[in-house]
Symmetry: D2
Amino acid sequence: MGRKLTGWHNARIRVRYSEVDRMGLLYHVNHLEYFEVARSDWIRKFWRSYRQIEDDGYRLVALEATIRYLKPARYDEELTIRIKPADWGRSRITFAYEIRRRGERQPLCTGETKHCFTDRRGRAVRMPEELRKRLDEIIKKG
Amino acid sequence: MGRKLTGWHNARIRVRYSEVDRMGLLYHVNHLEYFEVARSDWIRKFWRSYRQIEDDGYRLVALEATIRYLKPARYDEELTIRIKPADWGRSRITFAYEIRRRGERQPLCTGETKHCFTDRRGRAVRMPEELRKRLDEIIKKG
Amino acid sequence: MGRKLTGWHNARIRVRYSEVDRMGLLYHVNHLEYFEVARSDWIRKFWRSYRQIEDDGYRLVALEATIRYLKPARYDEELTIRIKPADWGRSRITFAYEIRRRGERQPLCTGETKHCFTDRRGRAVRMPEELRKRLDEIIKKG
Amino acid sequence: MGRKLTGWHNARIRVRYSEVDRMGLLYHVNHLEYFEVARSDWIRKFWRSYRQIEDDGYRLVALEATIRYLKPARYDEELTIRIKPADWGRSRITFAYEIRRRGERQPLCTGETKHCFTDRRGRAVRMPEELRKRLDEIIKKG
């Protein structure tokens, strides 16, 4: 089927010195930061810059995040952060992630983040129509 | 009963300017960072400095983290990060967290992190006996 | 005279696990972050919350920063970040800093940051009158 | 002559959401972080991975940093971080930096960082011979 992999987008990050801990391993908070970098990337590629989205009065507020740490990443390693939209509704969207060392297939980390579109005051609003269309296209191609 | 609240420890953090986003709200990655500050604090109070623990050859490796964002926190606000051990076994321990604005009862954020004790090479080892005893004491007092 | 020490304000910070590097030493970028925490603290104590200042339409924009690293700080150490206004003019203000381990007199780090008051669009404006008065009081007490 | 530009190496960074402040501008601490990313990049390209350098028992300890902020950078902008070795001696090396918006010539930020090679215990040691040779080559080409 290949359906599951549809829509994966890859962002690349090299682990910074400031991001590793005393053990030389990627500090566990930064995996969540990397998810955000991939999400910004995904949004820019499939829709538009998140900066414009905020300038239009929308915000994509985090509701929940789950991160599973499977294997450590190290300073200076090149990682691929994979992201895809996993589920969405009227105003909500969930993204799934995988962090891999470049060239490897076993993920170092997997996770999900769930978000809600709101206006500037934080009230839930409908997902912008344009994004919904893009998501529908992604599904059809699956 | 009061059992559920047993063992909550409170750490205090004031939101730093660098930790808020374009909207002036605590950036969602930092909640996980705050959990770590509370965990360091808990470990120091109930057992010993995590620095000594690492110097003794132990590591407390993150296996999983879940964060639920309920309400936003803002720059310069004083927060209370509540932490308690929620579950533990041979080499694993799970902590539960709540982030509150000081003086408020409704949490802004809740979450859990699950960890495994390992040696320097990353192999799972038994939880240090001293810590297990401390955890048993916490339960009895519950 | 004691003039030199006039106006020093002390902020306290415990070094976070995420802030140390592979060597277990406070990563050199974080000293500048600590200067900011002390500056927020100073501003809140001697004038008002920087949040209110921004809400009033002012910004305190960084123009220059210098940091001198003398001795390393380590994970979990309690540091005192000392700050005082060192010089100021129509729209500019320079702060001086010293980072010490608690209870020690030899600084681990010294530095200065120079700032300019601007409006929301980034145009230089006069320092708020209230702050200027507070600075004059500090000098007189010197 | 073109001497001045000799040895400039360019690293590329896209401003992360977590790196901007309430005003949507790159937070002033992160410029120093970006210098480090460029330095890691330079070292990897002209010599070897800084990870290997640390594994060999060397450390490149920061002695001093100066940052001059000229114009703001914004979220999601693509920046070029330019770095070159500016001066070096027996165990010390100074790097110069410029941060530019991609495609622009006016720097947003300039700065220098001064470092010392030490052993694992923090005692100053001679710069590794291999690196000194590389630096001499850079000069000759100037």
